[in-house]
């Protein structure tokens, strides 16, 4: 079984003290004080791919659109059990919307004759949740989104569980090749040990630029996008919002007072 798993490196905003500031262009975020990690849902996609490989044999190829810095997350995926990696890196890819990104990814994936392509269901930075679905459309294969469970039930057939609201799991059958966008929580992503990452550094990360993808300039970046990001803005604080000031002890006390006053506790 050949599996491709797409991973994205994103700013780690899990720390409540993370400072997110719009940069001077208004179209980007100041990245100076960020640390970077694998996108959370992609981490689950990597684990699901490795689990399938361990059960059914085959190989897992890690694919990423990003700069050299993204090697960090690629190597972690390789250390967990990925066999090879492709990184698509060209400054002309900047500004790509999910459709253009899917096109870039497809250019690398199309020659791999894989059975399953996995992506995370949603990127934590831009929140589009669209790359996997766009990729399936470009590849002309079926897809399932928000997948939590994957089981091989026969030659070219998978049974998958999609997470719906209220914790419902929708069970579907899907033919391969297909694209699955993986939801968080379906497995427990393993740890990539430091020795494993060092060992994985020996595995080749194939780098492809625009020329290598065979795409033209007008198919990538803003030119190749159907949606173009115009500007970021911070929502205005509304009249009904009350920001509690003070240290955690004080604000917790004030909050408890408000909840009590409103009869909520």
């Amino acid at each position: 079984m050949k599996i491709v798993v797409c991973v994205k490196q994103v700013p780690d905003t899990s720390d409540p003290d993370t400072e997110v500031h719009i940069d001077s262009s208004g179209k980007g975020v100041d990245q100076g004080k960020f640390s970077f990690v694998i996108n959370d849902a992609d981490n689950y996609a990597v684990e699901e791919a490795i689990l399938l490989k361990e059960k059914h044999e085959g190989e897992v190829t890690v694919v990423n659109v990003g700069s050299e810095a993204a090697n960090q997350v690629i190597r972690m995926a390789l250390a967990k059990g990925g066999d090879g990696a492709i990184r698509l890196d060209d400054e002309k890819f900047a500004g790509s919307d999910p459709v253009a990104l899917a096109r870039i990814l497809q250019s690398a994936i199309k020659d791999l004759s894989c059975d399953i392509v996995m992506t995370g269901c949603l990127a934590s930075d831009d929140g589009y949740g669209a790359v996997g679905v766009a990729l399936a459309s470009l590849m002309g294969v079926p897809h399932a989104a928000y997948v939590k469970t994957v089981e091989v039930i026969g030659e070219g057939k998978l049974k998958i569980g999609r997470e719906l609201e209220g914790g419902l799991l929708e069970m579907d059958e899907i033919d391969t090749p297909c694209v699955l966008t993986i939801q968080t929580g379906g497995n427990e992503p393993r740890y990539a040990s430091f020795k494993g990452i060092r060992e994985a550094s020996k595995k080749e990360i194939k780098v492809m630029d625009l020329a290598a993808t065979g795409l033209s300039e007008d198919q990538v970046g803003e030119a190749g996008s159907v949606a173009v990001m115009v500007q970021y803005s911070v929502p205005v604080v509304g009249d009904l919002a009350e920001i509690l000031e003070g240290d955690p002890g004080e604000t917790a006390g004030k909050l408890a007072g408000i909840l009590k006053e409103k009869g909520l506790v």
Binding site: D12, S14, D17, K33, V37, M76, E188, R190, K195, R198
Partner: protein, 377 residues
């Protein structure tokens, strides 16, 4: 993970064990968990059982407080066997998610707390003249704050007090700045030998960039790693209590104000039991006017661990029995102590929690020795 025959036997000198049971007999976590370290020393002689033993949740109960090692009549370090088993789990990637989060953050950010490296000097906000050393710059002391001091909002003010105290004593000191990294101690305790070796190499190279006479740490955990576990570090290493004891002895630090408080000192395991630094913290506290210093029944070599070390900040024991820090706080309460003095960020945090859990906030406080010194300046 395949273990070559006899690796544990040789690495931990398992055949040196006479199964006397002094290790388990003194192990503080046996009060609240089923951990039996003697049994692990016995069982790990059999290579074929290592895989199974590494899957026991008991191996994560150990706080690496060193009691078993200090009590061992054969000079073994029984708890290291548990770290060896943890290392097997870590190498396979099969460890607790909370530990994974901490270890991945150490790798990505240089700290276990999920904080950006660029924010590592935020603790110094509002302080003037905090000296971040340039490459090749001279200073008597290179201060290593490490991760909990740099990022925990409750410990960050204590680092400021260290700066104030050292300035008052006229010490020539500087910091690494945002390039400072985790010492690796907790990586090793969580079983990540490889990551520890990485920090050993990186930090040794980093410290070598400065023309400094000694390395001084805020935390006993970093102190221990730099002093005993780094393979190629030439710099003399001190815990801050040792430096301050020297300054007081030499008359360079004057403490003028009186603090009227009954104080009991809680020995941090990595300063006390691990490195036998018992006298300096007591000497420093004894120099503060008005401090009435009392002792726990279990102190120095017999000191009770607070359960903050050994990676326990990230791996919770299943036991619902009272934490050892709560026992410690209850003991301090019985002594009538108003202040539990500590010299370790982990101790500060666990004991503060325990004071709250026991409902003693009105009666007693945890204070780092630096907080008391700052008040006494």
């Amino acid at each position: 993970m395949s273990i070559e025959h006899g690796v544990f036997v040789e690495k931990y000198d398992l055949l040196g064990c006479i199964q006397c049971g002094r290790c388990t007999g003194g192990c503080p976590v046996t009060e609240r968990t089923a951990l039996n370290v003697r049994r692990f020393v016995y069982d790990t002689v059999d290579d074929s059982r290592l895989e199974e033993l590494s899957e026991s949740p008991d191996i994560w109960d150990c706080t690496t407080c060193n009691t078993c090692a200090i009590r061992c009549p054969k000079g073994l370090e029984p708890f290291e066997v548990l770290l060896g088993l943890r290392a097997m789990r870590a190498e396979e990637g099969n460890i607790e998610q909370t530990a994974i989060t901490a270890l991945e953050s150490m790798f990505n950010n240089g700290n276990p707390w999920g904080k950006a490296a660029a924010k590592r000097m935020d603790w110094a906000e509002g302080l003037e003249n905090v000296r971040v050393l340039e490459e090749g710059e001279k200073a008597d002391v290179l201060l290593h704050i490490c991760c909990t001091g740099a990022y925990d909002p409750k410990i960050m003010p204590i680092v400021k007090k260290l700066v104030r105290v050292l300035n008052a004593a006229g010490v020539d000191f500087g910091f690494i700045g945002t390039e400072e990294k985790h010492c690796g101690s907790e990586a090793r305790r969580l079983g990540e030998e490889g990551l520890f070796e990485y920090f050993d190499e990186e930090n040794t190279e980093l410290f070598g960039r400065y023309d400094v006479k000694r390395l001084v740490t805020l935390s006993p955990h970093c102190f221990n790693s730099f002093k005993n576990e780094y393979t190629n570090l030439a710099l003399p290493v001190q815990h801050y209590t040792q430096l301050i004891a020297e300054l007081l002895e030499d008359g360079k630090l004057e403490l003028t104000k009186e603090i009227s408080s009954k104080v009991v000192f809680h020995d941090p395991c990595y300063l006390g039991k691990k490195n036998l630094v018992f006298d300096e913290p007591r000497y420093v506290l004894g120099k503060i006017k008005g401090v009435e210093l009392t002792e726990f029944y279990r102190s120095k070599e017999r000191s009770l661990c607070c359960e903050g070390g050994g990676g326990k900040m990230w791996v919770e024991s299943e036991s619902k029995a009272p934490r050892l820090a709560e026992t410690r706080v209850a003991d301090a309460h019985d002594l009538g102590a108003q202040t539990i003095a500590v010299a370790c960020p982990f101790c500060w945090l666990t004991i503060e929690d325990a004071i709250k859990a026991k409902g003693f906030e009105e009666e007693m406080q945890v204070k780092d020795i630096l907080e008391l010194l700052d008040e006494a300046l």
